[in-house]
Symmetry: C2
Subunit: 416 residues, 2 copies
């Protein structure tokens, strides 16, 4: 098996699994319990959070553990028009449209079946190529999409045009999950800084936050929240050889959120529920390993990428530049990529057409559309994402198999 | 170590751990991916859900997997005044007070800083002894508490008095997490049925749902959703020797909920995010083992409970009847139970004063207060919860140790 879909899922590393094991079997205590073995578990949990936080240049207290990136993205958006402070539940809950309308200068109530109309300009801007867990929440809040250039990079001019005095949150993933495109977040943060200075001068107190979904990036980029200039950053254990069902949201100390759920008050009241101790221990170990092997892996993936780009025939490279080292996105003009995936699977090569959750619904990629690909190009597009299960031999073998399958497909079509 | 706090946390069974292992290491694929190994994982995930669903007499499609009981409880409450259908996100998000007020016959808008006033009678009733993850959400929605009798059982007369034409949801845990008290849900369901018939006759279309948090009960009671008469039921893997961070909400097919988070649309749009496959596989295995050993374990725990009740001296039994077989709640009058826990820990016996999440904050138990215990009695109360880590020998030894520690404490106090 040659697995080339590490952007969809990664196995849990053996070392991560071994780190989790005792917390399943013997150190299983409830971190909130009063006796010492439980307090030791609580301390280990905090230490694990510290490992994750420090890896991105943050403090342990800035991190909220979630059940994955989707929850973290959803939690980030509660920053919009958040009233009161963390732990103050008055008027809480996330009712975007409503909360939205409520504090707007004027609003109209539709008599039945419809939410309040949103009279003001969007409070949220998000990159058009974002993952569904950002896009759907942003849309829900009446957010406006920012365009990307054909390179997949954010159109900074479009961003500048769309920021208004009402804009509160800008959400831009650090690296795109279909293209691997790395966005110039520091540049965006620079623009935001200018807007904030301008607002300050004019006495406008509306917050302006930068959120980034970095799910795909923690094992491929050197992430530092201060350098990136983000207020909110989403992390995901499952994409970096850690367990599924664990993620985190970095929240800068001056950003106020509201809990999505209420209960025992864990994670400073922002995320109630008994702590997923083994999951977080595994997340921390995966983070540690990711940082340790960051440079070596990047070099390895970059060389593999180079090999694929030079050996693969009959295709157009979609993500030419500004991409994670492990992403190769190709377009085979006139070929049905879904059929290709099936044929490649028969030869033991596993690739994808786009985000797994979108692909499973047979939807066309909104990402490939946003960078200007035609329907035919989108239909012929493949995503290869390299990873730790791969070897040098596999890369050459994969290139050979893909070339041969593609060639037969082109021949079959020519003779059809 | 004699661990007597299985209500706070249980270890993951070796068999559960072994069932999960391959899904961490080799069958790690994203269930939404297009190739066969991923589809096999998706099928295994569905089969695991089926195992859990069938254990409570439900269908796989009735189950929404969550990150634990807290999320499941919070999700259950989105049934209140849910508009539109599942997957219809218009006006979605959970803003209890606001949604509440919006569809009320009349409402008043406070100019700033306050949520809309709630003019109508409570739509939610909940048992006063519920866990924080029910209580805090219910309070948030302006819910009203139902009293319990000194036995810990629901005061059915109080329930009947408090049900009004506005009541939409009644939340009563199947077994209490501090006392183990098993509530007569079928009787509650009978009352609800009568109210519904009466409403139907009078042309009142307001829904009336019964939700139950069964977190503590799946390995100790034979649960069947139809027999219990519940519309919503919360389950928790972490309390039945499964992994932390996994739970489920049973949702009867005619009950409409709203998602707490949005994204890739997993779990029929009600709970987005890549599926926690190993977690759910583990949950299913734990459920299977729980059902398999249900009767044997109940008998064993009942006999241990009997031994403790007969051997423990100088205490009052708080949960005399109607309790899970593994719960023994005691009160040592005049003794500080927190000190007792500390002294017992020194002798290798681990017990609790109440719910771990409440205890960690030094709060007095609202459960013990609700059954009419005085502050002094609450201060002297211990919760023993038996489980699979225990042996016959441990029970006798524990009784001996507790007796000896308690005796020294009484003597110390007498001479102080």
């Amino acid at each position: 098996m040659i697995y080339l879909d590490h952007a969809a899922a990664t196995p849990v590393s053996r070392k991560v699994f071994e780190a989790m094991e005792p917390y399943f079997l013997s150190d299983f205590f409830n971190p909130s319990a009063a006796y010492l073995p439980a307090k030791k578990v609580a301390a280990d949990y905090e230490a694990a959070k510290a490992t994750i936080a420090h890896a991105i240049g943050a403090k342990t207290s800035d991190l909220v553990i979630t059940a994955g990136a989707t929850e973290a993205n959803n939690l980030a958006f509660t920053a919009i028009n958040a009233r009161g402070r963390v732990g103050d539940f008055s008027g809480t809950g996330v009712a975007p449209a409503r909360r939205y309308g409520r504090s707007a200068p004027s609003f109209s109530v539709v008599t039945s079946g419809h939410p309040l109309k949103i009279p003001t300009r969007p409070r949220i801007l998000y990159l058009v190529t974002e993952h569904d867990s950002v896009r759907r929440v942003a849309e829900q809040y009446g957010g406006e999409a920012i365009r990307v250039l054909p390179s997949g990079l954010i159109d900074l001019d479009d961003l500048k045009t769309k920021i208004t005095d009402e804009t509160e949150l800008i959400s831009i993933s650090l690296a795109n999950n279909e293209l691997g495109t790395i966005q110039p977040l520091a540049e965006v943060a620079g623009i935001i800084r200018e807007v904030k200075i301008d607002r300050m001068k004019r006495g406008i107190k509306t917050q302006l936050l930068l959120h980034s979904d970095a799910s795909q990036a923690l094992n491929l980029l050197d992430i530092n929240v201060a350098r990136l200039g983000v207020d909110l950053l989403t992390l995901n254990a499952a994409k970096i050889y850690g367990p599924k069902g664990v993620g985190a949201l970095y929240v800068s100390h001056d950003t106020k959120l509201k809990p999505l759920t209420m209960g025992g008050g864990q994670e400073k009241g922002l995320r109630s529920g008994t702590e997923n101790v083994p999951g977080v221990i595994g997340f921390a170990k995966a983070t540690e390993l990711a940082r340790e092997h960051l440079n070596g892996n990047r070099k390895k993936y970059a060389s593999w990428r180079k090999i694929l780009l030079s050996e693969l025939q009959g295709c157009e490279i979609i993500n030419k530049k500004h991409t994670l080292d492990n992403f190769v996105v190709l377009c085979y003009n006139g070929i049905d990529a879904e059929r290709l995936i099936f044929l490649l699977e028969e030869k033991g090569v596993y690739v994808a057409t786009g985000a797994a959750c979108a692909a499973s619904k047979g939807r066309k990629s909104h990402v490939l559309k946003a960078i200007g690909l035609s329907d035919a190009q989108i239909a012929g597009s493949l995503r290869i994402s390299l990873g730790e299960t791969n070897t040098d031999e596999q890369i050459h073998e994969a290139a050979e198999i893909i070339n041969s399958v593609v060639q037969s497909e082109y021949e079959r079509i020519r003779h059809a």
